[in-house]
């Protein structure tokens, strides 16, 4: 599904130039659940941003479902993004002025899905993640775990083949964190490809493969044991 070849991303400020990704190459197949680990500043988030087409690489090749997207312009990237990629963030990033239902519905609106269809899909998904009673609440009225489940639901609603998660449990306690991880595993079972950046080896153990990043390089990639489910 994803193939990176010698991908480089450089950040420039007024005086300093720092290489966040240095000639990174790897491949992610459809249906994989990949964790990206590494110390702070190693380029994990940059990698995720580039994968999510939120950021453009300086050089190298990025094939998404066999299409070269590294040189896509803003419009092409936005269009590819909204149809194929769902995002989950550490700090949830729900819109405070919208209810749970409306937050989840938002990507469907931008994808120009008809209102009836939107309502049906959102209701189904809300039921699935078990927050039906909270559908008309605002994000501030939910616990962190509930907020993140809503965020995952929002990422899922357009049924994207790829979900990118940036430390999805980072702001959650372990109980809530585990719930979110189980949700992701379940998704993965249904066939969604997931790339997750994490600090936590525990979280990484849920995934099928872990990529270790250090100073913009991949230092190792290992296949994980089957995750042990802990409740």
């Amino acid at each position: 599904m994803i193939k990176l070849e010698k991908l480089t991303k450089v950040y420039r400020t007024d005086e300093i130039e720092s290489t966040a990704l240095n000639q990174v190459s790897f491949e992610i197949r459809e249906g994989e659940f990949v964790s990206v680990m590494g110390p702070s500043g190693c380029g994990k988030s940059t990698l995720l941003n580039v994968l999510g087409l939120l950021d453009r690489p300086e050089s190298g090749s990025y094939l998404f479902q066999g299409v070269e997207v590294a040189k896509f312009n803003e419009k092409e990237r936005a269009s590819l993004r909204k149809q194929n990629i769902g995002f989950v963030f550490q700090n949830f990033n729900l819109i405070d002025e919208l209810t749970v239902f409306e937050n989840i519905e938002l990507p469907l609106i931008y994808n120009k899905i008809a209102p009836g269809e939107r309502k049906k899909r959102v209701s189904e998904l809300i039921e699935k993640i078990g927050i039906t009673s909270r559908a008309s609440h605002y994000p501030q009225q939910l616990s962190g775990g509930q907020q993140q489940r809503v965020a995952v639901a929002r990422a899922l609603i357009t049924r994207p083949p790829l979900i990118l998660a940036d430390e999805p449990t980072g702001n959650l306690d372990s109980k809530n964190g585990n719930e979110v991880m189980e949700l992701l595993v379940e998704l993965n079972k249904d066939g969604t490809t997931i790339v997750m950046v994490t600090h936590s080896a525990h979280d990484a153990s849920y995934s099928s493969r872990t990529i270790n990043l250090m100073d913009g390089h991949i230092v190792s990639g290992k296949r994980n044991e089957k995750p042990e489910l802990q409740v």
Binding site: Q83, I95, Y110
Partner: protein
């Protein structure tokens, strides 16, 4: 998608109530001012547009320069309308009119009423000005010499509920007239306003004397320029015999002596706003006020729009996350721009609703101050609403454009990381906008102070006479005019009546002009003549400069004596004037009667201050229409009652009326005073809107710097130091704005002052005051926010991050 925009817009309004209130109220004030100005401008530009074929109607006028005396007046000779009607095939209709300067006592049976505005017109008047006739026939109503046409209101005053048509009314105790028409008050404004129309059809073939207003309507398709040329040729030939008869020179000689004399045409619809000549029918409006108010409306819109932009971008930090999320889940930039524009347009329309309320609230005050009669719901309600909707839409789009483009440009990667508070880009733009806002406010503050200084300069200017405690009473009848000089003692018996006098007019009235000839010279001198009695100078307080005043003991009744004012002496360049002889025409054959110039008096004003003092000649005459009484400063009411009682014994037919001379003259300044008050009101509004914006921005800044303030306090900064830090930046912006505002205001003020014949030099004081005022306003506005921020607990501030 639109529904979603609306939803978010309303929720974000409710969530950010204070900002929303500032935005909406600011916009509402701006819109209210814009609508008021629209109503005012619409009203001012609507004059005379309700007459049939108004685009083809012209008024003739006269522009002349004779012996150095310039004349520019909308008047024309007696036979001109007749000539236009009979000798020009291009003319569809022509009429002439004389406007009464005084109230007239009208009587029907036992009902006696003073009717304010009378016109003498010829029978074709209603062919040019198509008043709607309730009774009577516009074409024939004024054919008879004793015919009169009344407005409905006048008819009601005189006849009550009875039908006035063909009824008899008595005119000023002089003669009976028959009502041959009743007309409705016209639907629109006109540069004249009359309550009754007297027939005056006789034509005297004198072309050199100009006592009429002449109007005519061209046929459709006639080229004005061609017609004007034909007309001038024709009329110049007509005037030739009169010039030769009166001036005793040929027309060629007349023009060879550097004289000019020209008939001019004025489009009817230009009169109200553009015509400020001698002898206008009534005081016209002024296009300058129209421009000034449009300018103010634009400034106020700018100020309110800037508020909106500033507050929206300042709050962008709060919206940044939303922008990021929306982009990540698939919003394109145009979608976000649309969303934010929708929000600002919604706010603008909420503001419009408030603005309608404000207009409703302000309109009575506006009308009172500006002496207008504006209504929100009038014939142009559709236009007004349409205009307000358009302006609101524009407002919403204009003020939302920058925030929309700014916010939608956020990069999701950085805003979602939480970097947005560090984005500096908006800050300098906001500062620039604050500077522009304060330039606008400061210009208005300087403007208002200069306007008030100019008005108070005019109010305190030496008018050359002493109008306090002098009452003016019109002499209504020939009997009173002829005999009043014998009645002085009746009034002077009361010790509180200090002087009694008479004159052909007094300050505040419209003066007359006549031709004079200095003995030994051929020159025609057009001087403004005032006929007075022997007591005039004492009563009105006009001072002698040279020679002597009129003296009953020293003067023969059969010979005229003349006193000139200083301007006459200067303008005419008469050397050793005392003792020289001046001639005045005594008949239509050009015969002159000569008399001695016996004195020179200090200049005194008859007209308002946008008119220089005219060269005047005063003479004693019995042909006067006003009496004046100087009364003691105490017990004025009792004294006036005494005068009234005695007056009514002498002249029972006309109810007694009087006016204080200073008030009568002061009324000439009314238009300027109204303008000043309105300007003040709008300036205060503009300052309020500016302050609201500044308040919002300051509260935002304080909020944004909470952490910095906390750290500074932990490190030992005092409340004063923190406040100083927060206030300093804004004061700096205000000072920069002043640097720009000064030269701009100076140029505008200088230009405005040229409208007055008597003007102040642009003083430095308003500039200094405006700077102080703007700094004080800024400090007061900002410091409340700064004080709160500076007093907050640093622990809270640091926990906040």
């Amino acid at each position: 998608m639109f529904k979603n925009y609306l939803k978010v817009a309303f929720r974000s309004l409710i969530k950010n109530r204070v900002y929303a209130l500032i935005n909406i109220l600011g916009l509402a004030l701006g819109l209210a001012v814009t609508m008021l100005v629209f109503l005012f401008v619409k009203d001012e530009t609507s004059y005379d547009k309700h007459w049939n074929g108004y685009e083809r109607v012209y008024r003739t006028g006269l522009k002349a320069d004779m012996m150095g005396q310039k004349m520019d007046a909308p008047i024309s000779p007696n036979p001109m309308a007749n000539a236009l009607r009979t000798e020009f095939t291009d003319v569809e209709a022509a009429t002439r009119m004389q406007a009464g300067r005084q109230e007239i006592l009208m009587r029907h049976e036992e009902t006696k009423v003073y009717i304010p505005k009378m016109a003498r017109v010829d029978s074709s008047f209603f062919q040019v000005f198509d008043y709607e006739f309730v009774h009577g026939d516009p074409n024939t109503a004024l054919k008879e010499d004793n015919a009169i046409v009344l407005t409905e209101e006048t008819a009601r005053k005189l006849f009550g509920d009875k039908n006035a048509m063909d009824g008899i009314v008595n005119y000023d105790n002089r003669r009976d007239l028959i009502v041959r028409g009743i007309v409705k008050q016209p639907k629109g404004h006109s540069h004249f306003e009359f309550d009754m129309f007297l027939a005056q059809n006789g034509v005297q073939n004198i072309w050199i004397s100009n006592n009429f207003y002449t109007y005519f309507r061209l046929k459709e398709g006639v080229e004005l320029a061609d017609f004007e040329e034909k007309m001038k040729d024709n009329f110049m030939k007509k005037i030739e015999p009169d010039v030769e008869r009166f001036l005793k020179i040929t027309v060629e000689e007349f023009f060879a002596q550097d004289n000019s004399f020209e008939y001019q045409l004025q489009p009817l619809t230009d009169i109200h706003l553009h015509s400020h000549k001698d002898w206008e029918i009534q005081q016209n409006g002024n296009i300058i006020y129209v421009y000034v108010f449009i300018g103010i409306a634009l400034l106020v819109i700018l100020i309110a729009g800037i508020n909106f932009m500033n507050l929206s971008t300042a709050r962008s930090g709060k919206r940044a996350k939303e922008v990021g999320v929306r982009k990540v889940v698939g919003a394109s930039r145009p979608m976000l721009v649309t969303q934010f524009l929708t929000e600002s347009v919604i706010q603008a329309f909420l503001a419009l609703i408030v603005a309608y309320g404000l207009v409703y609230l302000f309109l009575p005050g506006f009308n009172k101050v500006m002496d207008t009669n504006l209504e929100f719901v009038n014939g142009h309600i559709g236009q007004t609403i349409g205009f307000s909707l358009l302006v609101t839409l524009f407002y919403g789009l204009f003020s939302g454009s920058y925030p929309a483009l700014f916010l939608s440009g956020f990069r999701p990667v950085s805003v979602l990381k939480g970097d947005y508070t560090k984005t500096k880009s908006g800050a300098s733009f906001r500062k620039g906008l604050v500077v522009i806002q304060f330039i606008a406010s400061t210009i208005l503050i300087i403007g208002v102070i200069i306007i008030y200084m100019q008005i108070s300069f005019l109010q305190s200017k030496d008018v050359g006479f002493k109008g306090e405690n002098v009452i003016i009473v019109p002499l209504q009848t020939d009997q009173m005019t002829q005999n009043f000089r014998n009645y002085n003692d009746i009034f002077l018996n009361n010790s509180k009546v200090l002087n009694v006098s008479r004159a052909s007019y007094f300050p505040g009235d419209t003066p007359n002009q006549n031709m004079y000839v200095l003995e030994g010279s051929e020159e025609q001198l057009p001087l403004w003549n005032l006929e007075v009695d022997y007591e005039f100078f004492k009563t009105v307080g006009v001072e002698l400069v040279e020679g002597r005043l009129f003296d009953r003991e020293m003067e023969a009744d059969s010979v005229p004596y003349f006193i000139l004012n200083q301007t006459a002496i200067e303008n005419l360049n008469i050397e050793n004037p005392i003792g020289r002889r001046l001639g005045t025409y005594i008949n239509q054959d050009g015969d002159l009667a000569f008399g001695n110039i016996i004195g020179i008096v200090k200049d005194f004003h008859i007209e308002g201050f946008n008119q220089n003092v005219r060269p005047m000649v005063l003479s004693v005459s019995n042909n006067v229409w006003f009496a004046a009484f100087r009364i003691a400063d105490h017990d004025k009411n009792a004294t006036i009652e005494f005068i009234e009682k005695e007056w009514n014994k002498l002249e029972p037919s006309h109810p007694f009326r009087y006016q204080f001379l200073d008030e009568k003259f002061g009324a000439l300044l009314k238009q300027q005073e109204n303008f000043g008050r309105m300007f003040l009101f709008l300036t205060i509004l503009a300052i309020i809107i500016s302050s609201m914006g500044l308040y919002g921005l300051a509260s935002y800044t304080a909020e944004q710097r909470t952490k910095e303030i906390g750290i500074r306090k932990v490190l030992g900064a005092s409340v004063g130091q923190i406040m100083n830090m927060l206030t300093k930046d804004f004061v700096k912006l205000v000072l920069i704005a002043n640097v720009f505002a000064w030269p701009i205001s100076f140029l505008i003020a200088k230009d405005w002052l040229t409208n007055f014949s008597y003007q102040i030099d642009v003083p430095i004081l308003p500039f200094i005051l405006a700077t102080i005022a703007s700094v004080v306003i800024a400090v007061v506005t900002v410091s409340s926010q700064a004080y709160q921020a500076a007093n907050s607990d640093p622990v809270d501030a640091l926990k906040y991050e």
